[in-house]
Symmetry: C2
Subunit: 363 residues, 2 copies
């Protein structure tokens, strides 16, 4: 990637560790997944948790995305302020502080859809809709095997849809899924039964059926009734996506440039990127804390906060003190969230920096 050839200039200009994205790869990733959605006849609603940048969100919308997905209200506020006008917040929002903010977001003219998986969350939403002065679309979050949020029975899904439809200012808009990649049939059965259930209850047919996940881009079209998809990580990709078969190395748009600062023993080294840069996220049990492009046989074996511990026992040609290396992280979304800006490159040029505008918006 371009980042590798530019790494010395990046180190001189920005210091290390530096979190860098190759905009050519970003644009290819955006185009490829948009084309996959278009081919499947499914709208694209990318999840911005990966990049947290209104600039990249705008590229996704310009490429054909229907709107965006945010996980937190604070992310949606940043995106709305930047002009993104159609946002799904795929999260149970709860509490009067959040309802007041959601109301302001609606009142500001942004089309916001929210998810809910329980009646407590639903019962709070009318206050936001009232403050916003408009109907709030709500999708029922459904769990078909991931064991995260989401109702786990069809009966609960239908009951929640009825609850939503009965509340002032709320509209039952459909279902939100995040199916495990191996649960297409079970998800189809759940969705079909829940759809029958809401129709039998006299509710309107779901207008939105939202599925999610970059690995599930390969499954687009396999669940009948899905109207839109929420891929996130595809915009940058990482070792997790490579393991899932959802990306190749050349699809990884982000690397962390880091300097080897110590080689205290023959089989050990220290990177200047520790858990405050690469994070302790193992990517669901990947070996080592990142892939070093120049030394794939060097293992990032552990961390201190600002030290990445290199195990060089299996490394034929170990890096020297002062070497700058490029690391593809295990899980790119959490790495982006560590920094206030990304360095951008394109071809043989460092083109600038991009603020991670919604970084740290955890509420």
């Amino acid at each position: 990637m371009s980042i590798e050839t530019l790494k010395s200039r990046i180190a001189r200009e920005f210091g290390t560790p530096a979190v860098v994205i190759d905009m050519d790869v970003v644009e290819r990733n955006i185009a490829r997944v948009q084309a996959a959605c278009d081919a499947a006849g499914v709208a694209n609603r990318p999840h911005i948790k990966t990049h947290k940048s209104p600039v990249i969100a705008a590229l996704q919308v310009a490429a054909g995305a229907r709107g965006i997905t945010c996980q937190k209200l604070g992310e949606a506020e940043v995106m709305a302020a930047a002009g993104i006008d159609d946002i799904l917040i795929s999260y149970n929002l709860l509490g009067e502080e959040k309802m007041a903010r959601l109301g302001r977001l609606l009142a500001g003219g942004t089309k916001v859809t929210v998810a809910a998986d329980n009646p407590v969350v639903v019962s709070g939403l009318p206050a936001a809709a009232a403050q916003g002065g408009r109907t709030l679309d709500v999708v029922v979050e459904v769990d078909t095997g991931r064991k995260r949020a989401g109702v786990v029975t069809v009966a609960e899904a239908v009951a929640l849809a009825r609850d939503i439809a009965a509340r002032p200012g709320l509209a039952f808009a459909g279902f939100m899924l995040y199916p495990p990649e191996d649960a297409m049939e079970a998800t189809q059965a759940f969705l079909d039964a829940a759809t029958r259930g809401v129709l039998e209850a006299g509710l309107p047919a779901p207008r939105i059926v939202s599925s999610g996940g970059t690995p599930n881009v390969a499954n687009l079209g396999r669940i009948r009734g899905v109207t839109e998809h929420r891929p996130g990580t595809y915009v940058f990709n990482d070792r997790m996506m490579m393991r899932a078969g959802a990306a190749r190395l050349q699809d990884c748009a982000l690397a962390v440039c880091s300097t080897v600062v110590s080689r205290a023993e023959a089989n050990r080294g220290i990177l200047d990127a520790g858990s405050k840069t690469l994070t302790a996220d193992t990517g669901g049990g990947l070996d080592g804390h990142g892939l070093i492009l120049e030394h794939p046989d060097a293992r990032i074996a552990g961390f201190s906060e600002e030290h990445g511990m290199l195990d060089l026992a299996g490394c034929a040609n170990p890096p020297a003190i002062g070497d700058v290396v490029c690391i593809v992280p295990n899980h790119v979304c959490v790495v982006v969230n560590m920094v206030d800006r990304l360095v951008t490159v394109r071809g043989d040029e460092i083109t600038g920096t991009l603020p991670v505008a919604a970084r740290g918006r955890l509420t």
Copy 2:
């Protein structure tokens, strides 16, 4: 703690998750460790990586600390800009971008000491000293068992001290240790031999011998020759410090206030604090990703980025949707680094917010 009694007001005012510190506990922690250093006749040079706040650094200095320790040059820049004038950067600094910044820091009048564990790092430092227009104190980082940075033999330590002393603009100032808590004797032997070595080489006696770590506060005075100590985590404490016997629960000054947003099944729940708030840091193998004060038998079993997965199988009185809980994190230093501000409380009042001014200063 006060945070528990104020949690509902915190949630209403700031939303959740909120990272909150109790300033009474912070001040007690600062006073207690300062007193321990005073009693041992060892100067206190607290490590600001835990709080990244010039305001708290100023409290530490006002309580008697000789100066502060920073891990990254960017942290030192923030602290110097806020008027902290005596800073040890306990890290190998490398590369022309960093040397230029280090030179500017020196030129600005801040007394800066840096660490080095290899000749490549030492060879770069004269450029910074020259730009700064003053002599740069350098300590040799020594590893007596932690296997992080630091020379591992006495011969290397002496050779590096000679190298430093021979370079224009650099002064050999002494040694920096970060001894494992069970390696007092080995550390003493190393230090004694290295000190003899530098004296035999005709170098001045070490002016600085710096030891580190909150758990090693209990070992103050056990290594003869130590002149100053670098405790960090003690200012807030966490589950790691409790496990190490270095803190009690009432010494933990920081908690994350989080709302239960889903209870999809009887034995499961979801917190609105995931790996982008609590981080995936296990604190060196602690069970669960934090201690929930109200439900110590509820286990934070895993994370998505914005979901904390509660395993409630062993929980006698599980939390309900909408409940706000207070979580003592596994490793507080990495949690503080996720947020731009901390909420502060004292007694029965929310007193405001404190910017984490050096957050994200990873270079």
